[in-house]
């Protein structure tokens, strides 16, 4: 065997030679799945690269890619890389002003975007981004009368590419030959819980090496299928979809629209699946709602067999010995009657490997999937390290940990408890931010993750929280807010929670209810309501949430180090936390400090002995206008448990 291809464009041609007829991309369009083979994709990319070159795209230029996961957008990334350029995928739901920052920061001259929505945003910020010369759009709908000179239709770009390729037949191969593995392959902007986003420059070498490790780790082959539904701007999609397909030669399936993902999942039946915890959570919430609405027979069957799965399912998945024959038979029956059909409905029948990461997953949530036979595993990493710091190996999974370090990755715990990482997948630098790069990567080449964690006895890494967020209550006991929030968020009725307690005498919380789950609950009880704010203020709903909080408190009481951080008082917020209002990041993580500042009045009320508090908040509606909402919020006291009492109760 000759030398392994060392850049993405060379890998593309390699796959096209190796398996020309195998599917590389699928997309559902007008109700029908369309397939492109590796050979076709290689050809499309060559044409596209020539088209970009004809428009003046130069080696080192940067190409913004904005839109939902579409084959043509992935090809645009491939084409840019083939020309020695750098693709910069942007979050498609970002507002124009957020895009302007990245467009300027990355000196973007070219953009390939999905549709009118994205074109409108780019045209809006065009005056602030003088370098942006060309905008190519995939879907021409609504763009017929746009006369701007910057705009090109995708078909026109292809036509230009065909012309260019005819006149310069060797151009593409020449450009490919100039690529080096140390070139930057992609710049990924981190959503950033604080401050402006930073561009993370990753080289071909880092991404390819990491992808090779991952493909070997779980044994991916060309027959694997993946549905890419997570934002293209996120490192996970680039690594798990884009980079790994180049190595393993499997097929990327693009959903018809963001709303059809559940149906598409079922039609494709992926073998490999990735999702942040919230995706697994929303799937489970939907399942639970539908089960509660089902007839009594189905409901009884479901609950009876889920109890069996809870008891022995995980043991069977992990091949543990000592499971009684009776339980094994019951589980098999359950597979036929409940788990199998359930997995089929969820599109998870064929899943070999499923991962979650980005945030801690609720233990019950994690166990639910594993108990019905889905090999769900956790991993740990960030954009700066090509994810891939720690991962669970199949058969060695613990819900509290993120697994042992991956081959080739060195992990060290600093004295402060912070996790430090050195690996081949480490970023080259933060784009144009030598100061931030120096701050993040120390002299020995270790990246400072900002997460607090420790190794357990089995060599697995356990992440507790962000290093800067782990704090102490006034009496010195440990306060890990994210851990508490995750505990609350496992309840299907709780959508989001924010806990406070740093330097205080007790822990208090803000809660967002899940409108879908509670709305359904209210309907079954014939409680009329108009919307989120109305639901959130109903006494019956507050009681329901109080029960959830008290259950969580009961759990916390079992653990002597955490017993003190039981939640004493809470309130249900009058509006949902929104990324548009700056309360969540684009990946929907809570921005605790921002929330604490914005709702200081409410926090003061929680820590006083008031029983209600009036609040007025600015919010932005989906159509871009803003307004104020106000409400008189009830503060609810929750029961707490003594460590001993809880043990007795349990």
């Amino acid at each position: 065997m000759t030398e392994q291809p060392d850049t993405f464009p060379r890998l593309l041609l390699h796959q096209a030679r190796l398996r020309p007829a195998r599917p590389a991309f699928r997309e559902k369009d007008l109700g029908i799945w369309k397939t492109w083979s590796w050979a076709q994709v290689a050809d499309e990319v060559r044409i596209l690269a020539c088209g970009l070159a004809a428009q003046g795209f130069q080696r080192g230029d940067r190409l913004a890619v904005i839109g939902d996961n579409r084959p043509r957008l992935y090809w645009a990334m491939m084409a840019a890389q083939a020309l020695g350029g750098v693709p910069v995928p942007l979050y498609q739901d970002a507002v124009a002003a957020e895009m302007a920052f990245v467009l300027q920061d990355a000196d973007i001259g070219f953009a390939v975007v999905e549709d009118q929505e994205q074109v409108d945003k780019l045209l809006e910020v065009l005056p602030q981004c003088p370098r942006l010369k060309r905008i190519c759009f995939d879907d021409p709908r609504g763009l017929r009368h746009y006369g701007q000179a910057e705009l090109t239709a995708f078909e026109d770009l292809q036509a230009a590419g065909r012309g260019f390729a005819q006149h310069n037949p060797d151009f593409f191969a020449d450009e490919l030959g100039k690529g080096r593995p140390s070139d930057v392959a992609v710049i990924l902007y981190t959503s950033g819980t604080t401050g402006q986003p930073k561009g993370v420059s990753q080289t071909h070498a880092a991404m390819i090496q990491t992808a090779r490790v991952l493909v070997a780790f779980d044994g991916f082959v060309e027959a694997d299928e993946i549905l890419c539904y997570l934002p293209m701007a996120w490192v996970g999609d680039f690594l798990y979809s884009y980079a790994q397909m180049h190595i393993a030669g499997f097929c990327l399936n693009c959903p018809e629209s963001p709303d059809t993902v559940m149906t598409d999942l079922r039609e494709i039946g992926p073998t490999y699946y990735f999702g942040p915890p919230r995706v697994y959570e929303s799937i489970l919430t939907q399942v639970m709602i539908r089960i509660e609405d089902a007839g009594w027979l189905k409901r009884r069957l479901f609950h009876a067999f889920m109890a069996v799965a809870k008891r022995v399912g995980i043991g069977i998945l992990e091949g543990k010995p000592g499971i009684p024959l009776r339980d094994r038979l019951l589980y098999r029956l359950g597979e036929i009657l409940v788990y199998g059909p359930l997995k089929n409905v969820l599109g998870m029948s064929r899943i070999r490997v499923a991962y979650t990461g980005g945030e801690a997953i609720g233990p019950d949530l994690f166990d639910f999937y594993r108990s019905i036979g889905i090999n769900l595993k956790q991993l740990y990493g960030m954009t700066e390290t090509c994810v891939t710091v720690c991962m669970h190996a199949s058969g060695d999974v613990k819900l509290e940990t993120v697994g042992p370090p991956m081959p080739g990755v060195e992990v060290r715990i600093a004295d402060t408890g912070e996790v430090l990482v050195r690996s081949p997948g480490l970023m080259k630098e933060y784009h144009k931010r030598p100061d931030a790069t120096r701050e993040a990567i120390d002299a020995q080449g270790f990246f400072h993750t900002g997460d607090a964690g420790y190794f357990d006895s089995g060599g697995h890494l356990k992440i507790i929280d962000r290093a800067k967020d782990v704090g102490k209550l006034a009496d010195g006991t440990l306060f890990a807010p994210k851990y508490l929030e995750n505990k609350l968020k496992f309840f299907p009725y709780v959508k989001e929670a924010v806990c406070f307690g740093q330097g205080r005498d007790k822990v208090c919380a803000f809660i967002n209810i899940d409108t879908a789950a509670i709305g359904n609950w209210a309907e079954r009880r014939n409680l009329p309501y108009t919307g989120y704010a109305d639901l959130a203020s109903q006494p019956a709903v507050l009681d329901l949430i109080r029960e959830c909080v008290e259950k969580a408190n009961g759990d916390l009481a079992q653990d002597s180090t955490l017993a003190n951080s039981q939640i004493r008082r809470f309130l249900v917020l009058h509006k949902e936390l929104e990324a548009d209002d700056g309360e969540l990041t684009r990946t929907r993580k809570v921005r605790r400090r921002h929330i604490a500042d914005k709702y200081a009045v409410l926090i003061d009320a929680l820590y006083s002995d008031k029983t209600s508090c009036y609040v007025e908040t600015q919010m932005r509606f989906e159509d871009g206008r803003s307004g104020t909402v106000s409400a008189d919020l009830q503060i609810v006291e929750a029961k707490t448990f003594g460590a001993a009492a809880a043990r007795k109760a349990a």
Binding site: D29, H145, S257
Partner: protein, 262 residues
């Protein structure tokens, strides 16, 4: 938005139409026209005769006096299915879909008039019937894509929220590939976001498919934004006709809406 759109010759001409049910006069000598590629709104207070006017256009009611000419051909008493065959499709004020059928099947019914194979051939589903079905399905899928309802393709209509049902009804009308589309209060009962979506779809239909549209709507901001010309009815009479601006400043219209002593 409408820069490239060419408004052409009149496609529908209403001339002196009067309609009475026994002693109740619904329309009294109403005349106006609708031009090719135009969005034409009919407004007026409750009971002004707006829906009756639509029913005259698509042949549900037959006027006692006056004529209706579609594409230059005068016609008096056509039936609704003849009107549909000529290229007039409509949606209803109170949604009229098959609630137990899926969205896809509902929209397929919009192709009914274009199907040539008989039910025996369709039952066998072979040869021409199969080819025809595939063709119709492709047309329907284009409409589904156009109105962005892929995610509910297989959902029974009865399970959908109101705003989406309205969109499905529009989809069924579009599946008939009409030249003239009659929309009876397409945005009634919708929230702001749903109204914005629907407005965009109406404009897109008009712009990309070149369909002429007659629209009844109560939300004045929608009417003023969408329509090229507005005709105002009150007690069955036409009291104004013109561009949104002209109509907005018309004394008679202001009186009809704010009310004066009769």
């Amino acid at each position: 938005m409408t820069a490239g759109r060419k408004i052409g010759r009149p496609i529908l001409e209403i001339d002196g139409v009067s309609l009475a049910f026994g002693g109740v006069v619904a329309l009294q000598g109403v005349s106006f026209d609708v031009r090719e590629h135009e969005i034409r709104a009919i407004i007026g207070p409750n009971g002004a005769g707006k829906s009756s006017m639509l029913n005259v256009i698509n042949g549900v009611y037959h006027p006692q006096q006056g004529t209706v000419a579609f594409k230059g051909r005068r016609r008096r008493n056509v039936d609704p299915h003849e009107a549909a065959q000529q290229g007039i499709a409509r949606t209803f004020q109170n949604i009229a879909l098959f609630r137990g059928m899926t969205v896809l099947d509902n929209i397929m019914t919009g192709r009914n008039l274009k199907m040539k194979s008989n039910f025996l051939q369709q039952a066998v589903y072979w040869g021409a019937a199969k080819r025809e079905e595939l063709e119709h399905r492709a047309k329907v899928e284009a409409v589904i894509d156009f109105l962005e309802i892929q995610h509910i393709r297989k959902t029974p209509v009865g399970r959908l929220p109101y705003g989406l049902q309205k969109r499905v009804e529009l989809a069924r009308a579009l599946a008939a590939e009409p030249e003239l589309l009659l929309l009876d209060e397409p945005m009634a009962g919708m929230n702001l976001e749903e109204k914005q979506d629907m407005s965009r779809f109406v404009l897109d239909v008009n712009d990309q498919m070149g369909t002429s549209i007659v629209l009844i709507e109560h939300d004045m901001s929608v009417v003023m934004d969408l329509s090229d010309r507005v005709v105002v009815l009150d007690y069955g009479r036409k009291i104004a006709d013109g561009t949104p601006d002209e109509v907005r400043n018309n004394r008679g219209v202001i009186d009809a809406y704010l009310g004066v002593a009769h």
